[in-house]
Amino acid sequence: MSDPVLERPLVRQYLRALDAACAILPVPQAQELHEQITAHLEEALPPGASIAEVSAELTRLGPPRSLAAAAAGPSRFLVLRKLRNRARRVRWWVWTAIAVVVSALGAGTGYLVSVNTAAPLLVVETGWLYPADQARAVDTTADDVTQTTVPDRFGQRQGLLLGLVNNSDWTQMILGVGPTWGFGSFPGEAQVGVESGPHLNQVGATVSGTSYYASPGVIPPHSFRYIRVAWTSDACMGADGGTIVDHITLRVRVGLITRTESIPLNEAFELAVTGHSTCP
């Protein structure tokens, strides 16, 4: 029923405050209290009531928060009840949207945690890639550390052959070496090829067909693959000069993320200026 009394600014303000205070109540209870107070005001205030009369009547009714508190009963568990009643006011589609968002966030977080905690690649075999270096390699051991040294062949291709194991549950795609990895003056310029083929088993052996090296290439979960790391040596060092690496950094894509893995090598590799070096 439309009544000018309810359109009075003071009354409208009071009813708005009452509705806000009634957020702690179940919806039916809040609606009933609103209806009761509205009926009270319609009956108690004549259409031409002065501001003073309206104000006095609202004062007699009491503060909206007091009415809501009286309707709510004892204050025990008031916070819980308030939360519950607020939750009940939320529409079903809002809950659905919240559930979808929470599920998506949960799945996304789980996914990111899973890929971020995937075990890094592990080097289990190492060696020089080219026969020219294999033939000239000098291995030494000191303090249980093995080092293999070859001459620095300036301007020629040199490289490593590494056997890698992927112990994670994710396929890891090797994109290349890390941006700062390299022998001497050519960081980031090494090319990486991963043993690939139509039918390789877990230990990298060909079941059928032939294998080849692909860049980028993948290592399936719990599988072994050889990788070739090759570069053109362009570090010209003085006599008795040399450069050593004992780890390799690889840029690896796991799922949707790309990370850089720093992988220790089984032995240290040195390019040295020796009698066989061809530095001009």
Binding site: A39, H40, G62
Partner: protein, 142 residues
């Protein structure tokens, strides 16, 4: 009207039976109840609190409510007492008489002792009113 929290609690406790008593006379609508209770001058801290009380009494089965919408008149929700409400009211009336008498005895025996004769005279609890200015509030001799 005292704003003492204890009195507020006391009013809250007796307001329900008072509403039941009014409805026991005849069904009434909200504003009518509020006006009658307010006219007593000491029962209501605020008019609005009657409405939540009515809802609670209805939820407890002590009163019922029904809309009356006679032609040409304002629609009103009328509240009526139920049989359960009447039983409860009857019980409360009986309890209240004893309770009020007991409270009065204890309250005014303390006042009488405090206002007793100098020299440590022992109050009996059966003496006359302690405050001569309010003789009607003195304890009842039993």
């Amino acid at each position: 009207m005292s704003g003492d929290p204890g009195m507020t609690e006391l009013r809250r406790g007796v307001l329900g039976p008072c509403v039941l008593a009014l409805l026991d006379e005849r069904p009434r609508f909200g504003l009518e109840l509020v006006r009658e209770l307010a006219a007593t001058g000491g029962l209501l801290t605020s008019d609005g609190t009657v409405y939540p009380l009515l809802s609670r009494l209805r939820d407890a089965g002590l009163v019922t409510s029904e809309w009356h919408d006679p032609a040409g008149e304002r629609a009103r929700r009328y509240y009526s007492i139920t049989d359960v409400g009447r039983d409860q009211l009857k019980s409360f009336r009986a309890d209240w008489t004893d309770f009020a008498a007991t409270v009065a005895v204890v309250l005014f025996r303390s006042s009488a002792a405090a206002a007793g004769p100098p020299g440590g005279g022992r109050g009996t609890g059966r003496s006359g009113p302690a405050d001569p200015a309010r003789p009607e509030e003195g304890p009842r001799d039993e």
